[in-house]
Structure formats: C-alpha cells, structure tokens
Symmetry: C2
Subunit: 558 residues, 2 copies
Amino acid sequence: MADIGTERVSFQADPSRYRHWRLAFDGPVATLIMDVAEDGGLRDGYELKMNSYDLGVDIELYDAVQRLRFEHPEVRTVVITSGKDKVFSAGANIRMLAASEHGWKVNFCKFTNETRNGIEDASARSGQTYIAAVNGTASGGGYELALACEYIMLIDDRSAAVSLPELPLLGVLPGTGGLTRITDKRHVRRDLADYFATRPEGLGGAKAVSWRLVDEAAPRSTWDQLIAARAAEFAARSSRPADAAGIELTPLDKKRTDNAVTYPHLEARLDAAAGVAEITIEGPGQDPPADAAGIQAQGAGFWPLAITRELDDLILDLRTNEPELGTWILRTHGDPSRVLAYDRLLLDHRDDWLVNEIIQYLKRTLKRLDVTSRSLIALIEPGSCFAGSLFELALAADRSYQLDGVFEDEDPEADPATVALGGMNFGPLPMGNEVSRLHIRFAGDEESVAKVTERTGAPLLAAEAAELGLVTFAPDDIDWAEEVRIAVEERASFSPDALTGMEANYRFAGPETMETKIFGRLTAWQNWIFNRPNAAGPEGALRRYGTGQRASFDRDRV
Amino acid sequence: MADIGTERVSFQADPSRYRHWRLAFDGPVATLIMDVAEDGGLRDGYELKMNSYDLGVDIELYDAVQRLRFEHPEVRTVVITSGKDKVFSAGANIRMLAASEHGWKVNFCKFTNETRNGIEDASARSGQTYIAAVNGTASGGGYELALACEYIMLIDDRSAAVSLPELPLLGVLPGTGGLTRITDKRHVRRDLADYFATRPEGLGGAKAVSWRLVDEAAPRSTWDQLIAARAAEFAARSSRPADAAGIELTPLDKKRTDNAVTYPHLEARLDAAAGVAEITIEGPGQDPPADAAGIQAQGAGFWPLAITRELDDLILDLRTNEPELGTWILRTHGDPSRVLAYDRLLLDHRDDWLVNEIIQYLKRTLKRLDVTSRSLIALIEPGSCFAGSLFELALAADRSYQLDGVFEDEDPEADPATVALGGMNFGPLPMGNEVSRLHIRFAGDEESVAKVTERTGAPLLAAEAAELGLVTFAPDDIDWAEEVRIAVEERASFSPDALTGMEANYRFAGPETMETKIFGRLTAWQNWIFNRPNAAGPEGALRRYGTGQRASFDRDRV
C-alpha cells in the first residue's frame, strides 16, 4: 500500500493484547476463536468485515500457534472456529489487497503461507492436531485456513459453504496454498477442483463432503457435541506428554532503530545506501545444561530457543520493513564447540516434547530463510562459530566465503576460521522439500556427501572446507576485502526481481513437496497474476471489485 | 512484438528449405550444424547475429529433431555444433525479446523448452543421443541448448566459454531450463551455480569441467577426432535397429483460413467472438494393419502418426496465432473400438523402433496440451470415440462433459456416447511428471484407480463414467446445451491470467520432475520477471541492453 514504510510493522504479539482472536482451554483441547475487530486493521483504508484478515490478524494467529506449542504441552487438539454468526472467514481483506503495493501483497502471502505450514507442522510433528470447525461460510483464504487443518468440519445449515472465489470475483488465485492443498493434500479430483474454483458461491453440505472439500458436515443440533467428540478422538491419539509444564515465551528484548535491530544474541546493522543488512549471531555464552530438566528450567532463555526466536523476529522484521535491503550478510561469533555441544544435547533429548519443539521451531525459522527474497551471503571469519545448527546459515546462503588464515592487521594471533558439521546438518532441520540443505547442496552427488560425512565434528579450515564443497570460496587476507566487496556491490547492481527468481530456483534444487510447490509453482504464478493489468491495473478485477463496475480484461491468453 | 498477428507463423519446415541449420550424415552419426542467417529473422527489426535465434530458427530445429527420429533409424548419435567461427550460439536474440510483447516471449520460451525436452526424450527413449560440440562461446540460450544434450564438449582455446549472462546483462532469467538443468541434471553445486549465473563472461576450460558445467574440454588440435570418438561411443550403446528404413514425414495437407484449420483427420473451427476453438479429431477410417511391417508400409499415413502430426501442428498454430481463443473444445468422431484396436497394435509392437517413435511422439504432443495456456473442455457426444489414446484428450482437459443418452431431436436412434479405457491410459503416455493422467486425476486415490482399472476395455455410458470419476459431468439431453453453454461463456468471462495460473497448478497435481519444474517454478518466475518494469519497462534491463544506458531498477525486493 502507498503508506507502507511510514510505520514499521511489529511481529510481536501477546494473547492479552489480541484484538482478533480468543483462546479457550478445556483440558487437552484448545479452541482458537477468530473474531476479527472490523476497525482493527493494521493500516487505514479498509474495514475487516466478515472475519476477513490482514497481516495484523495473521501476526496474532502466528503468535497463538507458537504459544500453543511451547506454553501448552497439555493441548493435543486445537479447534479453529469463528466467533461471528454465519461466517467462518471471508479470507484476506480485498480492499487491503486492492490498495496494496505488489511487494506488500507478496510478503503478506508469504507470511500467511508460513503460518499455515506451521499449523500443519504442529499437527504432523507436535501431536497437536488442528481441526477446522467451519461454523459459517469460509471463502478464499478462510477456506484455505481450514485446508491447513487436518480435519475440516462444516456446519450443514443450507447457507454455510466453502469456496475459492478468487478467480471468478477477483481475477487472481487463492494465495495461500488452496490450489495445491485441494489436490495434493485432500485429493480432490482436478476437474472437480476446477469447477469448484470457478463457482463463487462454493459448495456446502453432502456435496462438499463427497467431493472431499470437507471431511464432515453436521447440522447445528449436533455441532458442538460432534466437535467435542472429534477433538477428543484426535487428542487420544496424540504423543504430547501427560504432565509436562509449558514454558513461557517471554517478551523479546529488542531494540529497533532506523540503522540497527538488536537483541541479546543477535544484531543487524542496516545500511540503506549499500542495500545491505549485516547480521551477526552470537553463539552460546555458557555451556549447555546437563539434561532436559535443565533446558526446561532455562525456558525461553535457553540459548537455542532464544536465538531462534530472535532470528525469527528479525527475518520477519527485515522482510516486511526493509524491502530495499536486498542482501543479507550472515556472520556468527562465538565458540563452535559450544554450539555443537548444544546441538548434541538437543539431539540426545529429541524425544522430549520441549526439545522437539525447539528443534522444529529452528527448522521452521531456517525454512523462512530459504524462501526469503534476499541474497544471502555467509562470511566465515576468525572468531565465528559456523558449526552444526549454525552452519545451516551458511548452507542456506546463496554463497559463502571462508577466510583462509587470519586478518593479519586485525588479529594475527587469532585462530583461523573453521566450520564444522554436526548431527543437525544431516536431517533434523530439513528444508521444505524434506531434504537436508547439505544433501540439496550436493544435488544427488552421494560421493561428496559421503566425504563430508566422514569429517563430521572436525573443525575444518578454509582450504579443506572449500575442497569438500562446504563453502563457496576461501580467499586469503590479501584478497578477502576486495572479493567480498565486489560480491556485495555486484549483487546490489543486479535486477532485484531476477535475483529473486534465480535464488528461488537454485535454493530448491531437487525434489518437490506440497510445501515447495506452494512457495514455488503456485506463488510464482500468483505473483505474476498480481502484477498483471488484468488483476492490478486500474480496470483489473482486483481493483474493480466492489465498485459495481466489471473488470475489463485483455483477452489474450499468455 | 507489435506486429505479431499481422502474419501467421507456420510451424511446417523441411530440410531443403532450412535457412539456419544443416544436417550431415556419417553412418550412425548425424551432425546438426547451427549456422543462423543474420537476415533470416521471422520478423523485422532484428538481425540474428552470432548464431542467436528466434522462433523461426527453433521451428527448423524442431523439424530436424523430429525427422532424425522418424526418417533416420540409422542415426544413433546427433552432434550439435556451430557453423560459425568462435561462437556456438549467443542464445535467444535480445532485440527480438526486447521488442516482443509479453505473450510472444512466453509462447516462444514454451516452444523452445518443448524442443529441448524433445532432445532429451530422443536421448532417453530413442537411443539417439545428443552431444553438444561447443566449438565457440555458448551464452544463455546457447548454453541451455547444450544443457539439453547428454554430453557437453567445450573447445579449450582460451576464448570459448559457457555462460548464463541473462541475470547480469538483461535482468531476466535463463528462460529455457538453464537454472533447473544446471542443478538437477548436471548436479552443479547451487552456490557455484549462483556465481556462474552472475558472471557474464562465463567459464571455460578446466574450470568449466571441474564445476560440471561441461563434461570435457579439448584443444582444437584433437577436437574433431575427440568428437568422432565420443559420438562412436554413444552410438555403440544405442538400441536403434541395425537395418531399418526410415519413413518420410511428408508435408501436412493443411488448409488454413481465419475461421478454420483443416487437416485430413482434424478440424478446428475458430470463433473469435466467443473466444473458442472447436476442435474435432476424426478416428481411424479403417482397421489397423496386421503388424509392424504394415505400419511401416503406411508410413506417415498410418492413422496414429497422422493424427499426432496434425494435432501437434494445430496446437502450435493456435497457441502462437490465436492467443485470444482462450477455450479449446475437444471432440472426437469415429469408432471407439477401432481406436482401441490401433492402440493394441501399438502396444503389442512397442519394441519396434517405429512404433516406439509413434508412441513417444503422441506422448510429447499430449504433453504440449498439458502446458497449453488455454482452458480445455472435452465434449463426449454420440458418435465420438474417446477411447484409449484419444481418451487422453478428455483426461488432459480441465473438464469433460459426457451426454447421458442421446440428442433426441438430432438422432434419437444413435448409440449413446461412451468412453473406454485401454492400455494407453495406464502408463505409456505419461505427463511431464512421469505419471499417467489417470493417476494424477485420482491424485493418489488408489481405490478409485483400482475401480476404473477393472473396467478397462468396456464401453462406459455417461452415468457409469461419471460415477467412476472418469468424466466431470454427465448431463442429459435436456440440460446439455445450457450446461455446456454456461461453462464456455463463463470461461470467457474470467481473467485469462488467473485461468492460466489455476490450470497450470491443477494440471500438475502430485509429484514433480525436472521437466515440470521447468514449466512450473522456473517458467512462472520468468514470466513474472518478464512482466516487471525492472526488465520490460522503458528503463528496464531488457529494453536498455545495447543502448549504452544502464537500466534503472526499483530496488525493493519482492
């Protein structure tokens, strides 16, 4: 939108300040009630009628999903329903979309997609299964929210329906995975899916069930009872612990200025002139606790959780508020052996519910990097700790540079930079394609993977790391400054759009999953459509919606 | 380009009329020499310097690839090389791209991609392996042509290099699969691939080999000898027959007016006002020959080959020359049992080289439908022959309608419409994702697949076909006209771009392959970039290239 950038968006939320959602708890079942405040839009110029949403509504949803996992080990089923009468959710707010700049729309869809993937991750990996209790009409993004749940119940009252009306009404695609989930997750036949997505009023009742659009339709008379029964069934199958205590996700200690974002373990310096954010992650300041109880005792202060939360917030902040910073430079600082020690602690206790949550959260945060439309360059210097889980940052980067030797002028006595692999690099933190970054890096070259596997745990100097293919370049002190400067300046000189396209392709070499199809094929098509006059032009469908005027289309098929 | 549409593009070519390619034969080795005529552009306004190409150059290449398969069973290795000094190919012509309308660029890339996929198909399925003998610099699409070959040889003369300079020089992506093949086919590490694609001058010699960009680099002194040796090695491994005679791909008997395209077995009526092409395919007029020798004797007149060639040409004609016809209605007419008889003949003799070529060609032609950006609606009426291989048309369609009963006013005594499955529906004609359309239709629902499999060969009336999920709708005579009319009119009222995006997603439910990634993720991003001001705007990189002025970018990352 025109005024994006005048006010920074904050991604920090707290249930006590929610304007759009309510959380209710009943033993193993939590109910997440969507009740959007019409006047609670993040920006001016639109009203959030009929449980339609904007980024602000989704920031609260994301917060709720995170807190349910960490603060509520007792919750085994989450029921998402609406607090409105006759409407579940009308989806993303159309006036907000119509008034938004292209980049805002794309970033908004990316975040909402990540949140919906997070819902699926909770169902799949945390024993916290989501049920959509669709107690009124669910349109577009409203139905897509339901599609992210494992089980969809639809009230059968002759008016409630699910629909994807984006194509006929707005000339765009359902933007949060609908077209992919409907076939690849729910196995709706593609010709029926075609008909469904051209029918603005959608489908309800028995037909919605027989077409697999929902799992169950039930009349109002048995509605509450049936939801309770289904919630109990899913809860009974859960692996969540019986008597664990949650840990509180305490407010982040964050300082934000125009030039820097600072957290206890993480700092980003923002250089608008160069188009660069220089990000430094601080390794653990102390040795890890001895066991899972020690982790629990440290709670949100436990280093892996603390750094993940900070990195998560920073990624979201920079993506939304600093679109002109096209290159992120990633550095680490600390003791690599300590990072590996924390990794081992996590891996040794990965069956613990909290440890599992921490690993899954780190996984999701690293996945955010993979789909971030910024060039990522890792700089591996003396004093850094690119080991194990933190080496994933270098693997996520488009390029990495490891100094061969030391900076003679700065600290000739320093230990040279090393990198190290650990168990975290071989599977527990997969990309969206379910493959480790290390395997994707070597693109099916099992011989190279075998060679690096042999060196797991060893500190690798630049020459060896480059030889093994773990870093891109290994310049020495003489060449370092010039080579890095050229790489960064060159990046800033290229077309930002072409970089986004190139990186989105290279980062996802190899196999595809539903998730990568959503961020790849579907998102790329949607971005194209968002950018076309038939949608976003003055006579386009998105801009004309609700004006009483029909869109005027260029009829040529491209 | 501005004047596209003033003159229709023809996709029919013949070696005797090639302006840009030469074919030379030496026993089992054919050499395909690219020697583009600078003044031979399909349109005015650009010169095809340095073996750069436009659609016209690629139409000849496609023709050569097809003829090598059908007319030259003796050819086991095809060497693609350049007839120019010091340059292999500069890729797609930049001035042509810069002057072209968005739709023209997208359609051009689609066709060039299909031709390159066809080259890989020949290597994989016909025992006709392609070697790129890169005897000079191969840039952008020039290198991508080499990437489509199984083996890439690069002359090592200190000037020859391979490169993908699109991003740094033009602000777009390599448009014909380069970013996908470099990682997924050649297993170049993605960080090296990143560096490579930002370096306009590319890489040559030993470095190009060690980065896997090419397979072999050789000096001029041993060049010809080495190519001959490699060509002989690949030829020795081929399954092509020793003493078969080719069949001639005789000129198509085609009539083309503004309102119709007519071939012996295929007709399309073009309705510009409705935005519809009504396509009718005629089934076989006689019973199939008895054996492979009979097929060989009929040559290009053999019905399956004849109809495939006509359909192939029609798809290319309509895609390029009739972009405003957004809906293609697919009908068939003939005897379904005869279609199944031809299918059985082909399947019984699929080890025969010619039969294999016919099946693979039909497969490629149906794949063209899958990536065609037009809504496809199959109408299954009395007298139709949607059986076996022709039922693939209904499976490729976004929707199908089968009449329940007969048209009472038209022909009350007619046999009701049926559809029938045959062996061709269960694997020999896969989509680009290597899965049959039938399996993709049921999206992993093996129970439904098992049910339809039981009914293989049986003529299925509308009610049963709908029940089995083989057709979308089965209206009766009373509803038919209205239901079909609404579907077609509605389609014409929707945003053409949104339809393209929706269809591209639904048609490729399920798994992905390198080929579907090229047409999905990569193409969708490229189309987005092509449509952005940073590339195609008056100050964009594509438009500014060669003017001496630098592009001016909106620096925001999207």
